[in-house]
Symmetry: C2
Subunit: 132 residues, 2 copies
């Protein structure tokens, strides 16, 4: 499976409507792996990634968020937390890890079969475009 | 040109020794394009990218930095600046754009010809690995 990186970067969208199908353990692990390989200040890797599988937990967390209420509607989520004392640039480090995970998730979604170009996907992309 | 995104993410290194050959306008523009397509809070795109071609300017800037003194030795640099009033999450936004640019630069370097697997490149990778 391969892709042009710039094309991948340009086709990623911030999606706010989700399918209900569970995300496989293998897919989650690949996404986490992409996050783990992000650069960080002095290679401090100040992040922890918390996989949120429980709908109840996601609902409770979503209720506390100003942005991110959609978390309760997704089939899973990943909380990225950073230790501010572990790095000189914890926020940048966490954001770089997050961007890696978004790209990996987008890559996996596009190469998933079947349904990659299903009408549902196209409609979702269209709606996301409207909200960019 | 194509690549497995996870493989690209995992082979990126933070390089601190540079070739002297100039970076082409086309390469710089592709790298900037990768940055421009990063996600940002409310799609605010609070960043500006300043291409630092002048060795004199890079030297002066490097002298003011705690980290990043190596900027004066590179053939060019890109300063990522963010407007803290333009976004709810300016630092995260700038870091996501930076990560995109690092991946695009790494992708371009690997697919550049000739010299992709030159002895010089291998030695540089080996040294970078020692400092990870």
């Amino acid at each position: 499976m391969s892709v042009d990186i710039l094309e991948l970067i340009k086709t990623r969208r911030s999606i706010r409507k989700y399918k209900t199908a569970p995300v496989s353990e293998e897919e989650i692990n690949k996404i986490l792996e992409a996050g783990r390989w992000a650069p960080s200040a002095d290679n401090s890797q100040p992040w922890r990634f918390i996989v949120l599988r429980s709908q109840e937990v996601r609902k409770k967390l979503a209720d506390t968020l100003t942005w991110g209420r959609f978390l309760s509607q997704a089939p899973m989520g990943i909380a990225v937390v950073v230790n501010p004392r572990a790095s000189n640039h914890p926020v940048e480090d966490g954001a770089a890890a997050t961007q890696n995970m978004l790209l990996e998730a987008h890559f996996r979604h596009r190469h998933r079969s079947p349904g990659r170009n299903s009408p549902e996907d196209k409609e979702r992309t269209r709606r996301a475009d409207l909200h960019r």
